[in-house]
């Protein structure tokens, strides 16, 4: 290592300074939401709370856990996410494995068929009509089937199969009498756990956060995922049933509603927040694999 010149030192200082500023800009809103959810709503609304909670209480959380819509939305989202991710994963493997095989005749044609949909699609209205004609409106499956697989994840997984699993392994398996399906389940999949983890993560986050399909296709509140309930509370401001209308004054109600909003933000992201530190190294790996174009 050469000795650092003065120019280098100045460069380093400015560089670190810029990165610290960026980091603060990113993290501040998140910390604020967390602190606000534990604070006395009045202090938050008056603008007396800037970083640390003021007048700590769990009042807003109590309101949330008494609310049926939120709890049901949570349960629905958990179901959609787990079933949806399972189907996504199976479908992705089913597509990625054959496409990774050089001796799979027609793979370029099939790949082109898939990739074309990245750039051109039927659009909102024809897709909506199709779902309607299939009788899937307002069913459980409408949250799962129309997004059964994503081309990005197929590409990522295919690239992984091609790069990380040597061709000799295929040949050895074939000579030992493995069928293609046996090769996949006994040899390829056990070796592919990192990419499977990444795929699960990407799909699960997608399901957890999706609201648009639900908004388009669902009409029963019983089936609403959490994000749709969040939209009602956060964006459309429908919180009436959470706050007792009768006794309290309008101003006090308004304050309570604002407090609930902060707590709802936290509750909705708890699973992601909890898993995030453990999963980070996986998803970076996933993007990196995806970045190398196959």
């Amino acid at each position: 290592m050469l000795v650092e010149s003065r120019g280098d030192r100045i460069f380093n200082i400015i560089n670190h300074f810029l990165l610290i500023i960026i980091t603060l800009i990113v993290i501040y809103p998140l910390v604020f939401v967390l602190s606000a959810s534990f604070s006395d709503p009045q202090a938050v609304l008056r603008g007396e709370m800037f970083l640390w909670p003021k007048g700590i209480n769990f009042h807003s959380y109590e309101k949330i856990f008494q609310n049926k819509d939120i709890l049901r939305g949570y349960t629905n989202t958990l179901i959609y996410t787990s079933v949806g991710t399972l189907i996504n994963l199976v479908m992705t493997i089913l597509a990625a494995y054959p496409l990774s095989r050089k001796d799979f005749i027609g793979r370029n044609a099939i790949m082109a068929l898939f990739v074309f949909t990245m750039f051109f699609s039927g659009g909102l209205i024809p897709t909506y009509m199709l779902i309607k004609n299939l009788g899937m409106l307002n069913t459980f499956w409408v949250m799962i089937i129309p997004n059964a697989v994503s081309i990005w994840n197929i590409i990522i997984m295919r690239t992984f199969f091609q790069q990380s699993i040597p061709n000799e392994l295929h040949e050895a398996a074939t000579i030992d009498g493995c069928s293609n399906i046996q090769t996949l389940t006994r040899i390829i999949l056990p070796l592919s756990m990192p990419i499977i983890a990444v795929t699960i993560l990407f799909y699960a986050v997608g399901h957890w956060n999706s609201f648009f399909n639900a908004m388009l296709y669902l009409s029963d509140k019983d089936k609403f995922p959490l994000q749709l309930i969040l939209r009602e509370i956060l964006i459309q401001g429908q919180t009436n049933d959470m706050v007792k209308m009768s006794t309290e004054s309008a101003i006090k109600q308004q304050r309570e509603v604002e407090g609930i909003k902060y707590a709802v933000l936290v509750v909705a992201n708890i699973p992601v927040l909890l898993l995030y530190p453990f999963l980070q190294r996986y998803f970076v790996k996933g993007v990196m694999i995806g970045a190398i174009k196959g």
């Binding site: 280098d8 460069f11 380093n12 560089n15 670190h16 810029l18 990165l19 960026i22 980091t23 990113v26 809103p29 998140l30 604020f32 609304l45 603008g47 089913l94 597509a95 494995y97 054959p98 799979f104 005749i105 099939i110 898939f114 949909t117 051109f120 699609s121 039927g122 659009g123 909102l124 209205i125 024809p126 897709t127 909506y128 009509m129 199709l130 129309p146 069928s179 293609n180 399906i181 986050v205 957890w208 956060n209 609201f211 648009f212 388009l216 994000q227 939209r231 509370i233 956060l234 964006i235 604002e258 909003k261 992201n269 992601v272 980070q280 970076v284 993007v287 990196m288 970045a291 190398i292």
Partner: protein, 320 residues
Amino acid sequence: MANTTVQPAMNAVHEKKRRRRQKWNPILRNWQLYLLISPVVAYYLVFQYLPMYGIQIAFKDFIATKGIWGSPWVGFEHFERFFHSYFFWRLIKNTLGLGLYSLAVGFPVPIILALLMNEVRAEKFKKFVQTITYAPHFLSTVVVVGMMMMFLSPRYGIINHFIGMFGGNPINFLSEPSWFKTLFVMSDVWQTMGWSSIIYLAALAGVDSQLHEAARVDGATRLQRIWHINIPSIMPTIIILFILNIGSIMGIGFEKVLLMQNTLNLETSDIISTYVYRSGIQDAEYSFSAAIGLFNSIINFILLVTVNQISKRMSETSLW
């Protein structure tokens, strides 16, 4: 093979059969692969290609009882109606404006962030910055828009408290049309810059360190090395991502725009895709909306192909 001793005439027939078998052999041998992939092909045909068949209703007057096939053709009537409508220029202006604004701000930021992070030698600090900046990527659009509305609320929002502290008047950001694009783009930068920088970081990790050594011996400063080595090295990645970004200009952040939209900011927030949603799903004007949607997709597709072609000529980097 035993048939090498058979007469020449028979041989020819066998030869033909053998050839045919050879041609089909790899396919028959791998029949399981075709079986495996068939559900995925079926999914694409039904959920991606069948809607493309449905596009024809843009040229028809869709009547539900007659179905897509039975409805009468009307040619370009719906397109003409759209081109002549009061909304047309406003939608074009907003869609392109928002797309270009996002591209101009949102595209370079992750590159700069990656270049900055790449220069950090302290691993722990680098990890820390990465962990924080990636995090908002995992928030949903609903959550981000919800947070924005709370922070920007004219009476209770923290931003307006700050403005108040410095003696300014509260601004009602979300109902002010002139603020819409900036809010949309800035919140997007906040949410995605860290995540989008990963690809560039990966590309930077692949830069040949000998180039840096040589430049250092020649007395190049850090900035010079970034400018003359790092940026040219990741240029192919930048171009590919730029083309992909162009390809999504017309469909930019549809869900988020829809969530941020209200009757007061409609003047600048109404883009083609939200208009399709309103007239199609809410007002059930299927044919008219399908026509607008098709118009949008075609422009998008043309943009993508054009930029790809230009890039191919100028830099020999392209998607296909």
